[in-house]
Amino acid sequence: MACRNRRDRAEARPAWTGRAHPIEKPRHFGDTEHDTEMETKRSRVKKLIKAPWVTAFFAALMLATPLAAQSPGPLKIEITDGVIEPLPFAVPTFVARNDAANDLAQDITRVISADLTNTGLFREIPQDAHIARIGSFDAPIQFSDWKAINAQALITGSVLAEPDGRIVVQFRLYDVFSEAPLGEGLQFVGTADGWRRMAHKVADAAYSRITGEGPYFDSRVVFVSEQGPKDARQKRLAVMDYDGANVTYLTSSDSIVLAPRFSPDGSRIIYTGYESGFPKVTVINVATLEKQTVGGVDQNMSFAPRFSPDSSKVVYSAEVAGNTDLYQLDLNTGAQTRLTTAPSIETAPSYSPDGSRLVFESDRSGAPQLYVMPASGGEGSRISFGEGRYGTPVWSPEDDYIAFTKQNAGRFHIGVMRTDGSEERLLTGAFLDEGPTWAPNGRVVMFTRETSGAQGAPALYTVDITGRNLQRAATPAAASDPAWGPLLR
């Protein structure tokens, strides 16, 4: 009984919460040197896209978009296949507009560079190779100096530290070989604490303008931080910036926590927690850390929850007398609806972006496979037919793919398939990969990779949907069950 009391202990409250630093709405600003007509800008953008380096770059991303010409038969990605040439870019240290901004200017420049470089799509030309110096943000660009070092994209910027603690970051992106800006200059205003967010905003804008994909650097990830031996692992909820910075802990390690997911606006996290002694779906407010459990009294165990895209509902699994089915809770009315009634296991539900359908995992055929059904319940149609066992499907925010875990021949894989189950491609393979989550732009997947044996431990990894650029995400300790949050506002 003494051990049982562990969970009654007052929970250690973290020093600060997982709330993001505020940033004011970005402002476009007049472009002194290149204040050109809209029409001209568009044609310049087109020209940029036609440039040879951009063609190579786009070809890689095109593989993954619905508009791409598809080769007949099932597409199979070899992880080692098709290494693309990353796009060379230069980002001279942002100009500090006052002395107080000196350090921030360096830090912000460093994070912008890291964001872009870590995508595997860009390569920074080191600053010591630069010929030109950017002494003033508004000075004309000497494009020949940047061409000479083969910088194909150039990012310039400035940082001003206001006496009131706010900082102002301005930036411009240039297509060096067209000698033209790509898009308008942007200005971000925020607190000095939020400097990393401003760097991510700049990098997001550059990434989006060059790739045509949505931004994702200015986002956070919730995950389970782990420590202790494998047979007595301690787990607690943590939130970090997408790149591993600013880790904060939301729960103590007194009870097991599993598989957290953000609410669509990022203000709440829903997870499976053993705080009561039994696994229960629990919602925690990211700012106040208040908790509330979800699930009926007759439900022995409730788990695998997710918010609906409009935040009005929660879908989850519950076990009653050994049988696990899907349930939906209407958060406005409190009404609970049972969505499946099969004697098989139905779990790991995930909404389509419009909230109309659910993809989930069921072993009704004898082994776990993926099914899609209306969000209100009904007949599910099976979408996975390959060899092996499929689980933890997650619908892409772009509505083009479903990512999943696949277990086959003693190995685990993260894969993607179209929402009808076609064009299955495996992105990874290892002893134990599981639990994919999508970046807000639907082009990168994060997941858990656990190593084998007594000393085995989990870590977070990212891979892009072409299967390229597998990278371990930085976390302070072992980590599992990542879930990417929305793009911050």
């Binding site: 009984m1 047979d231 599993l258 499976t272 050994g322 995992e361 933890t392 277990q407 044996g453 007594a454």
Partner: protein, 172 residues
């Protein structure tokens, strides 16, 4: 003798802790060794005492094992559960939490559900052998609390289990 009794209490407390995670065996054995150097008779609460929790864990057997991805009881499992039921029927002052566990080969969610199936398979069998449903509750730990930590079948086979954890109380 007083200190021996204290030792025993300490050993029992350890056992109770381990048992919540299905690791009672090793700690229970230590309790049994302590019981052995008593006055020669049965030390109440020791593994020699048929009414003790230690006896239930070691002699009756507090766990049943499952095949890969299965929640069907094996013949050995049924024999163990029948003995557990006889013990519970003879010792009405206990309730039990039946823990379901899975090995690490599977996703977290699926393994939670599988652990739920296993715990309920054991519970249902206990009920079929006359144990009142009000004395039994189930919980799944999925793959969160392995008993053995290697990544081979030798460990996995021990981790695919349902463990009956006793607690003092009459149930509902």
């Amino acid at each position: 003798m007083k200190s021996t009794a204290l030792l025993l209490v300490a050993a029992m407390a350890l056992t109770a802790c381990g048992d919540r995670l299905g690791r009672g065996g090793a700690d229970g054995a230590a309790g049994g060794a302590n019981g052995g150097f008593g006055a020669g008779g049965v030390v109440p609460g020791s593994a020699n005492d048929p009414a003790s929790v230690a006896y239930f864990q070691q002699t009756v057997g507090d766990r049943v094992l499952f095949l890969v991805d299965q929640s069907t009881l094996t013949p050995e499992g049924q024999t163990t559960l029948a003995a557990q039921a006889r013990w519970m029927n003879a010792n009405p002052g206990y309730t039990a939490l039946v823990e379901g566990h899975a090995d690490e080969q599977g996703t977290r969610e699926y393994n939670l559900a599988l652990g739920g199936r296993r715990a309920n398979a054991a519970r249902d069998y206990l009920i079929s052998q006359g144990v009142s449903a009000g004395r039994l509750r189930t919980i799944s730990y999925g793959k969160e609390r392995p008993l053995q930590v290697c990544s081979t079948e030798a460990c996995y086979s021990q981790n695919r289990r349902a463990v009956t954890v006793l607690a003092a109380g009459a149930g509902v």
